[in-house]
Amino acid sequence: MNIVIGGAAGQGMDTIAHLLGKTLTRLGYGVLLSKDYMSRVRGGHNFSLLRIGSTTPWAQATDIDILVALNEETYAVHHQKLRSGASVIFDNALFALPAQEPRGLPTPFGSLARAAGGAILASTVATGAVLSLLGLALPTAEGLIREMFAEGLVEQNIAALRAGYAALLPARPVTCALPKATPLPPQIFIDGNQALGMAALASGCRFLAAYPMTPATGVMTYLAARQQQHGLVVEQAEDEIAAINMVLGASYAGLRSMTCTSGGGFALMVEGLSLAGMTETPIVVVLAMRPGPATGLPTRTEQGDLNFAIFGGHGEFPRAVLSATNLEDAFYRLNKAFNLADKYQVPVIFLTDQNFADTARSIRPYDFSRLVYERHLATEETATFPYQRYRLTEDGLSPRAYPGQFIGEVVLSDSDEHDEDGHIIEDGAMRKRMMDKRMLKQNALATEMSEPELYGSTRAEILLIGWGSTYGAMREAVDTLNVRGKNAAMLHFSDLWPLPLNNVTTLLPQARHSFCIEGNATGQFAALLRRESGLQTTYLLLKYDGRPWSGEEIAREVEKNV
């Protein structure tokens, strides 16, 4: 069951979608909600896609069962995707559907809203209408409204919800009713940025400095709203350079800290990234990708910054690059990012994108007991005195103390090449020793990388390879292909640098047809794989129109070739 809610920016599509998503989640359905919005505050054409299943869908489909058209353009843009038994809910006071359209269900959102208390309630009216169409009862949604709205607004909203519900009741076609849910175990309904924000919180991150930038801002606003309650500090910096350098200062001084940004802001941060490498200061940078170059398409999605994440910054230094592949995993993986940063005293870049950031799903609650909080700080036992910040050790790890940790001892961190004490040096031999020490950590990081997830058989004829937020679409594609009689599997990477090679080295050569699937124009991951392993997929599927892959799209492209 697929619902599209479309209109101009500012018409409240988000409210409808969120209310529906959460209601359905509580009712035991599996919900996937994603957004397609323009880089403007009012007007334009934006829409939310809500897909509902008995288990939570992995990616969006293209057919539409219910279209909520808050303006005429919505119908124009989407009507070709309507199924035959579909319904179009729209405000007949605003516009009319073409005469030949039999699927329209005129609903006077505006007047019902005004009757319930004000024009702003139109989105709640629409929510009621959809619930009615879906054949669901109201109490769950009403409960939700009681929790979400301020006291004074609750009653109006419930009235609006009921009005929308009642308006559609007589007319509703059975084709749009949902089968009764076989209630899933308890679920949460959460989006990517919220999951990452909560993961940071629960990983003991106590300081975020950042500069607003779509699609990363959601991590910042999540944490900002929870400062008092959870004892952390969020600071909006004057620019991204300040942001990363503040984070470095805080981390050096002993606090788990992070920043978040998108490509343009990351570009301003790479000098600081290199500083993290040289000073061996742990930091986590969440890099939420959007289509570039330059400002590009600020509210769209792309996987175009993989190379930049791995190779950005001057000079050579160890780092890890992890990515968000799905909501279930990303929460734990960001926790891993923090722990790796601390353990190896390196910058860790966590790659996400608009598709991941703005997509919400109903999933099983996270298990906080799986989270690890390990700071890997120096102790009286591991440190030697007088304390040396960059003591040369066998594994390249110098016990890291923060200023004031040991009475009488000082901690000197240096951006220049330095000796064990942290003092500037010029001699070649020490330079080489320090480079070797730092690069040893890159080798050690390689042992920490998770192998890609295999979905499907190890003997599949068709192997799809991908990384990051394409997970859901690829997984659906695998299912679709298998249903259609193909023998497909996927190998999906979450940890990207240093690139884990065991599984791919075994599986790729066995597959008759292999596809690398990416959301960019140059096949960055495919090239990285070749660089690291010499291996190559037989096909490369690239999409770079700013929109996420759907499972069907991938399946179709695969079928074209095999």
Partner: protein, 282 residues
């Protein structure tokens, strides 16, 4: 009780006669008089001759990037409000590459002392003009002389609302030491712009040049913003030294209730403490 010698380390790489030496000495004396043990003090710096200071004093040091001395200091204050934080850097670092942090850190008003070694030149990169270079000064880049009017750090700081604004001269070491002590103690952002002769590249603003011009204005009220601004803008034949303005306002740290109490970096944490955070998503 600490002694200045406790803080002085290593040989320096500065030129003989450089104005950085008396500044270092004054700072060591200030720290000693304040009896601040090295492990309780953090010095953040950028890159340049002045910015090498953390290597020449025994303190905690974060020697970061050119132009980026202030932001790590702000971060360190968030992490640990018990640290005494000093930012030490050059005029190019603080007012050129780092100009944006200069103005926005003043707005933020974290409790830190900012000591700018203002030699009116880029020393480490061999003599190009800095934002404070005198009009007409010839360099290998400004080959026909500097044409842009000098940046006026104290006037800008006052206009931005800085609570503590002072000018010192490396040749007045006792005054410098005392001013440094006041700046370190000041609750908020404290700027001390220190006139520092660069004997190698700045042949205009020499010790003699400054000596001839610097004076201590009499009867100046450090709570009089307008008078402070007038003094801040004075330059040329007469250059006033001293604390020009000294009026605290709420610090950056004070806006975060979370920062009250023990330093944030020392508080225990366990993920299980925040398991309630996901209830809102149910």
């Amino acid at each position: 009780m600490s002694k200045a010698a406790d803080y002085l380390t290593k040989d320096t790489a500065w030129c003989p006669g450089c104005g950085n030496f008396p500044i270092r000495q004054a700072l060591a004396e200030a720290l000693a008089e304040l009896d601040l043990a090295p492990h309780r003090v953090l010095m953040c710096s950028g890159i340049g001759q002045a910015a090498k200071m953390p290597h020449y004093l025994r303190l905690n040091g974060f020697n970061g990037l050119h132009g980026r001395a202030l932001p790590p200091a702000v971060g360190a204050r968030v992490a640990n409000t018990a640290l005494t934080v000093i930012v030490e850097s050059g005029d190019g670092d603080s007012y050129g590459e780092g100009g944006n942090h200069f103005i926005h850190t003043i707005r933020r008003n974290p409790h830190l002392a900012h000591f700018v070694h203002n030699n009116q030149v880029y020393g480490l990169t061999k003599g190009q003009a800095s934002p404070t270079s005198e009009l007409g000064m010839q360099t290998n880049v400004q080959t026909t002389g500097v044409v842009l009017p000098p940046f006026q750090p104290l006037a800008v700081a006052l206009t931005m609302g800085a609570g503590f604004v002072a000018r010192c001269f490396a040749g007045e070491r006792k005054h410098l030491k005392e001013t440094m002590m006041a700046a370190i103690a000041f609750p908020g952002y404290a700027l001390v712009d220190i006139l520092q002769p660069c004997t190698t590249f700045n042949k205009i603003n020499t010790y003699a040049w400054y000596k001839e011009r610097c004076y201590f204005p009499e009867g100046h009220e450090t709570s009089d913003w307008q008078a402070a601004l007038t003094l801040a803008r004075q330059w040329g034949d007469h250059i006033p030294l001293g604390i020009l303005y000294n009026v605290p306002r709420p610090t950056f740290e004070s806006h975060f209730p979370v920062l009250a109490g023990s330093p944030l970096n020392g508080r225990p944490f366990s993920p299980s403490e925040v398991v309630g955070a996901q209830d809102e998503f149910r």
